[in-house]
């Protein structure tokens, strides 16, 4: 044991004596001839959380060995894997990478419907401002976050007293564009619902030659000095779903759904679609981005077999939500689409088998 300890300290010292701290690539020297003579194994043969430090043979046969001569190094992740006593952070990091590598990076597993990235993106931006003593508050929101020209825009406001009860107040506001252009004053009228006040805009003046972009409604009230703002985006109607879909299973066993869109103005477009099971189980989302010219195009959403297998949901499957946006600053995101396109019926085992087969292929490669 003492010998091991001496070797250990000497080894660490040797490593640091060789550490040049310069921009050179060569950093450290292997400690044993045995290690020097071992070839670097292909990284693809390493399982994500393989603990190579369990045995000498595992260490010397499976790991990449950096040498001063070959200038080859283990990947950063493999170095983390090789650490004997991993910290909680290092363990969390390996778990993350394992999950990240489980699916193609255009897919995202949706564990629960609440975690659907599309509905999260379209969720109402409910803003609550509290008085300094946190006793009173004002609630502000818009009916939607993204509008098209001509659509009715509704802004809501509500005041709560020190007992957290909604109370009556007079609200006023100002609508501005891009933080610097005053559009119009806002008039709020009470609704019949729990002292909620509403301001409605048709934005007809914007319909002829609209300023696409971010609008902000600044709102004040006469009950307290709370003030806040809420924003919405007037988006360019440059892309829309036509309602045409096709589906297929590709050679990897993934479910492919092609979605037709009509583009009216050229640009780069981002699209994302979330897939659900027939009994509303959330499965995952797929994203794609493309440069498109005016006309009809097919957008491809690919759902990996592993993604569907992990959800444990048998077909038919439902494309429940679709997000379409013209990229740029600000992003011109279209109002949420809920096409509810239903696929043919597929047995879950089909995807499970495909997922297992793909994994096996990866191992063989």
């Amino acid at each position: 044991m003492l010998g091991s300890l001496i070797i250990a300290i000497a080894g660490v010292t040797l490593y640091h004596l060789k550490s040049t701290k310069s921009a050179q690539v060569v950093r450290y020297t292997p400690l044993t001839n045995q290690a020097i003579t071992q070839p670097k194994a292909p990284s693809s043969t390493l399982a994500p959380q393989q603990n190579v430090a369990l045995s000498i043979s595992a260490i010397t046969s499976a790991k990449a060995i950096p040498t001063a001569h070959t200038e080859t190094f283990a990947s950063p992740l493999e170095r983390i894997q090789a650490i004997q006593n991993k910290s909680q952070l290092q363990q969390a990091l390996l778990r993350d990478h394992e999950e990240f590598d489980r699916y193609p990076n255009y897919n995202k597993r949706i564990e629960t419907p609440e975690q659907d990235p599309i509905t999260q993106k379209y969720a109402i931006d409910e803003r609550i401002s509290e008085s300094e003593d946190s006793y009173e508050s004002m609630r502000l929101w818009t009916e939607q976050k993204y509008y098209l020209p001509g659509q009715k825009i509704r802004i809501f406001a509500q005041i709560f007293d020190e007992n957290r009860e909604p109370t009556r107040a007079n609200f006023g506001g100002q609508l501005i564009f891009n933080e610097n252009k005053e559009i119009q004053t806002l008039v709020f009228t009470p609704t019949e619902n729990d002292q909620i006040y509403r301001s409605e805009l048709t934005l007809d003046i914007l319909s002829e030659k609209p300023d696409y972009g971010i609008y902000k409604a600044l709102v004040i009230n006469d009950k307290n000095d709370l003030a806040d703002s809420v924003t919405f985006t007037l988006s360019e109607p440059s892309i829309r779903l036509t309602g045409e879909y096709t589906e297929q299973i590709n050679e990897n066993g993934s479910l492919i759904i092609d979605t037709e869109v009509q583009v009216s103005a050229a640009g780069r477009f981002y699209a994302q679609a979330s897939l659900y099971g027939s009994t509303a189980e959330s499965i995952g989302s797929a994203q794609t981005a493309n440069e498109l010219k005016p006309g009809k195009h097919w957008l491809r959403f690919t759902y990996d077999a592993q993604l569907i297998a992990d959800a444990g949901a048998a077909g038919p499957y439902i494309v429940k939500h679709v997000e379409l946006a013209k990229t740029g600053i600000p992003i011109s995101r279209l109002p949420l689409e809920n096409p509810n396109f239903i696929t043919d019926s597929y047995p879950l085992e089909q995807f499970s088998r495909a997922a297992a087969s793909t994994t096996q292929s990866d191992k063989l490669n």
């Binding site: 091991s4 300890l5 250990a8 080894g11 660490v12 490593y15 640091h16 550490s19 701290k21 310069s22 050179q24 690539v25 950093r27 450290y28 790991k63 990449a64 060995i65 950096p66 283990a74 950063p76 170095r79 983390i80 090789a82 650490i83 004997q84 910290s87 909680q88 952070l89 290092q90 969390a92 993350d96 990478h97 990076n105 255009y106 995202k108 629960t112 999260q120 931006d125 409910e126 803003r127 609550i128 509290e130 300094e132 946190s134 976050k145 020190e162 957290r164 971010i214 902000k216 600044l218 806040d228 809420v230 924003t231 985006t233 780069r268 981002y270 994203q287 981005a289 946006a325 990229t327």
Partner: protein, 369 residues
């Protein structure tokens, strides 16, 4: 000059010679790529005038004088760091999606990872990163927002994949190359979904000039505009459904010292004096939503929370993908970046990383790696 290697020795002495080899293999140095926050012209590298480097020891409160994030981060290790500098001043007014911000950061990360050094004069000897280091990014305040934009557009199919924006439109930037292989991104007091401070500047009711010091300017220039908590400006709406590297969030919930503590009363929920905790931890929902230091929302009466949480900002309650809780620390926005509070208390959080408990944000990273 050799540096002490406490961590390495600790590991080495408990391993056999054979196991030591694997451990040594794992002990490549860490390189911490430092991305500063708002209000710094990090493009200046003139002799000892290095604002991007000085950012990590600068202070707005005299009690933090002499503290250094980098000293705490490196400790007695052989680890390295690299400074990224970009122009985040109000005079420049560049939002997070600009080529001068996101583009500049990504290009510097690529150069650093190639082993070219960062071009800054480090006061500590032998701390420039090498190409075979383990790379991490440490970002503060606006730097976190920047890193979210870069990591969130580093994957093909993202809305702004490898794209930043200049004065005349899109510019190609290799975010993919910058982020691919980065082990993780730490955010400290990140303005991930903005700050109510910006709301107040842009909404015209930021009345207390005393509070409105170096972290933010007086006018609603575009860089401040895109730091508002309104969802339309949030970086999460400008990224794809995945990130190129995982993000570990650390949030502060202590108000500023002295009179400036008044700023916290103007921010909803817990905050670090300038950024709402919900924004720092990238919680789903409004960037100004009220959460306590345990990252939960509760019903409240007369300012006192009660009952079961109505919302949990755990790893399933994030507004951005691949984003994780690391720690909720009793520290303010200034001390986050200069490590001015050496042993802050903390609150246990769902999914939190406990290595480094009791240390400040720099020390936590040091302890966990």
């Amino acid at each position: 000059m050799l540096k002490t290697t406490i961590k390495a020795v600790k590991r080495g002495v408990v391993l056999s010679a054979a196991l030591l080899f694997a451990s040594t293999n794992a002990l490549a140095d860490n390189c911490y790529i430092m991305v500063h926050g708002h209000g710094t012209d990090g493009t200046i590298k003139s002799g000892s005038n290095q604002p991007a480097l000085d950012y990590w020891s600068s202070f707005n409160f005299s009690q933090y004088s002499g503290s250094s994030f980098l000293a705490e981060l490196l400790g007695n290790t052989s680890n390295n760091y690299a400074i990224v500098g970009y122009n985040s001043t109000d005079e420049a007014g560049y939002p997070y999606w600009r080529d001068e911000t996101a583009g500049a950061i990504a290009r510097q990360i690529i150069s650093i990872r190639q082993g070219n050094g960062d071009g800054f004069n480090h006061p500590e000897a032998n701390t420039q990163c090498a190409a075979n280091d383990n790379f991490w990014v440490v970002s503060h305040s606006q730097g976190a927002q920047q890193m979210m934009f870069i990591a969130g557009n580093a994957i093909a199919g993202s809305p702004n994949y490898n794209t930043a924006y200049g004065s005349s439109g899109g510019v190609s930037v290799n975010y993919d190359g910058a982020i691919s292989g980065i082990l993780g991104i730490f955010t400290l007091g990140g303005a991930i979904t903005g700050t109510e401070g910006s709301d107040r500047v842009c909404n015209g009711n930021w009345l207390d000039a005393l509070i409105n010091f170096a972290f933010l300017g007086q006018d609603c220039n575009p860089s401040v505009q895109w730091l508002q908590t309104n969802d339309s400006y949030a970086v999460r709406n400008y990224i794809g459904s995945n990130l190129g590297a995982p993000i570990y969030t650390m949030g502060g919930y202590r108000g500023f010292p002295g009179l400036e503590a008044a700023s916290s009363a103007l921010l909803a929920g817990e905050d670090d004096g300038y950024i709402n905790l919900a924004s720092q931890m990238s919680c789903a929902g409004s960037g100004k939503r009220s959460i306590d230091s345990d990252l939960n929302s509760y019903r409240s009466f007369l300012g006192i929370s009660y009952g079961s949480p109505t919302f949990r900002c755990n790893n399933s309650g994030k507004g951005t993908p691949r984003t994780y809780n690391m720690a909720s620390v009793y520290t303010d926005h200034d001390a986050e970046r200069n490590a001015g509070i050496s042993s802050p208390s903390y609150t246990s959080i769902d999914g939190g990383i406990t290595c480094g408990n009791g240390r400040n944000m720099a020390g936590r990273i040091n302890s966990c790696l």
